[in-house]
Amino acid sequence: MALWVTFWGTRGSIPVSLDSASIRDKLAHAIVAASGKRLDTQEKARAWVDSELDFAVSHTFGGNSACVQLDAGDDEHVLCDLGSGVRAFGNHVFTRDGPAKANVFHVFQSHLHWDHIMGFPFFAPAYVPGNRIRIYGCHTNLEEALRRQQDPPSFPVPFDRLGASIEFVTLQPGRSYDVAGWSVTAKLQSHSGDSYGYRFVRDGRIIVYSTDSEHRLDVPEAVEGAATFFADADLVIFDAMYSLAEAVSVKEDWGHSSNVVGVELCQLANVKHLVLFHHEPANNDERIAQIWRETLRYEEISRTGEPLRISVAYDGLEIEL
């Protein structure tokens, strides 16, 4: 059975969007690159864009905050985090199923910082009676955080007016739970107010969602704990918000990690595929693409065993396992 991971939101801290100057630069770059080409139909132009232009020119990594879908082809939906990307996911479900179909959503919250919950008031299925939403997390104030952001004067629709049936489930880190066909285990991570990573196992395949986590590789117990949590994963979605230099200096204790540490941990844990996630909002497409190239190179330099595949997350990315 194929498993799919779809990224609906990949940005850290705050949603961002392309500005007009960035779009103008992309267009100018593409027009110059197309000089002398005969691209006189939309089909030819699209094919040329897809095959000849760098992703950072032809597309964007996107700007919605964290929301990732795990899809095993079941009727019930599984998500990680309710960042602004969940709005697009909700609209996708409506478009595909129509508003009349009752759906079940299982949401695993890494933590309750605003960028990870801010999409919920705009998650259209939450307004539809008949839908059922179960929100799981290890924070005891999970429900309070979701309710509070819809209290006056922050939002016009109070939480109690949402039409869907909404339940909150408190999980214990380190304990395995069976949810919608997945075996799920949470792990405490280093982040202001705590965050939790999730290790999902299904049909022998392992997906780890580990965002908003600072890793101290100079602390052996922390390294061992992370390596055990990541062990033999087919996919690790990893907070690579900062450069290593930032993460160990001015932004130490800010609760995020780097591409370099992501590579080293995944190599240590025998991971197959690392996805760079939770992009710094100050980074434009060109900078994120540069970080991706550098991460690929660092993997080559530091490799001691099997090659580690590395992707960079973007809004709309789908990965099949």
Binding site: L217, D218, V223, S243, L244, A245, E246, V248, S249, S258, N259, V260, V261, E264, E294, T295, R297, Y298, I301, S302
Partner: protein
């Protein structure tokens, strides 16, 4: 990990030897810690000669960051010299090249940090 030491005037040149990873970082740390306190305003200028280091991991880079922070806080200076190409790439990927001044050679670094040290270096090396 062995860290050798040479003095040229008011500059100390420390030369770590080998691969800096999780298993050898303690050696780099103790090699640096022995001299960090002396690198203050009016004290030793520190040059790290990386010509004999062929790899450095994140843990090793963190040790450099902590040493550099302490030295700068006490008014001293620390620079890096003679990075091998792969280690230079690691500095660039990790952005450590934005935190540490990097020079092509020890002599070039001494040219920047201290005329006295440069004269002593040239005298010792017959240049």
């Amino acid at each position: 990990m062995h860290v050798s030491q040479e003095r040229y005037g008011d500059a100390l040149v420390l030369t770590p030897i080998g691969r800096v990873d999780n298993s050898t970082t303690d050696g780099l740390k103790s090699g640096l810690d022995a001299y960090v306190a002396s690198c203050r305003a009016g004290g030793n200028r520190l040059v790290l000669d990386f010509s004999k280091v062929d790899y450095i991991s994140s843990v090793g880079l963190r040790v450099l960051m902590l040493a550099g922070k302490e030295i700068r806080e006490q008014g001293g200076s620390i620079v890096v010299a003679a990075l091998q190409p792969v280690v230079r790439e690691i500095f660039e990927i990790s952005r450590f090249n934005l935190v540490f001044q990097c020079f092509g050679s020890v002599r070039e670094a001494l040219t920047k940090v201290s005329p006295t040290a440069l004269a002593a270096y040239d005298s010792a090396h017959g240049t």
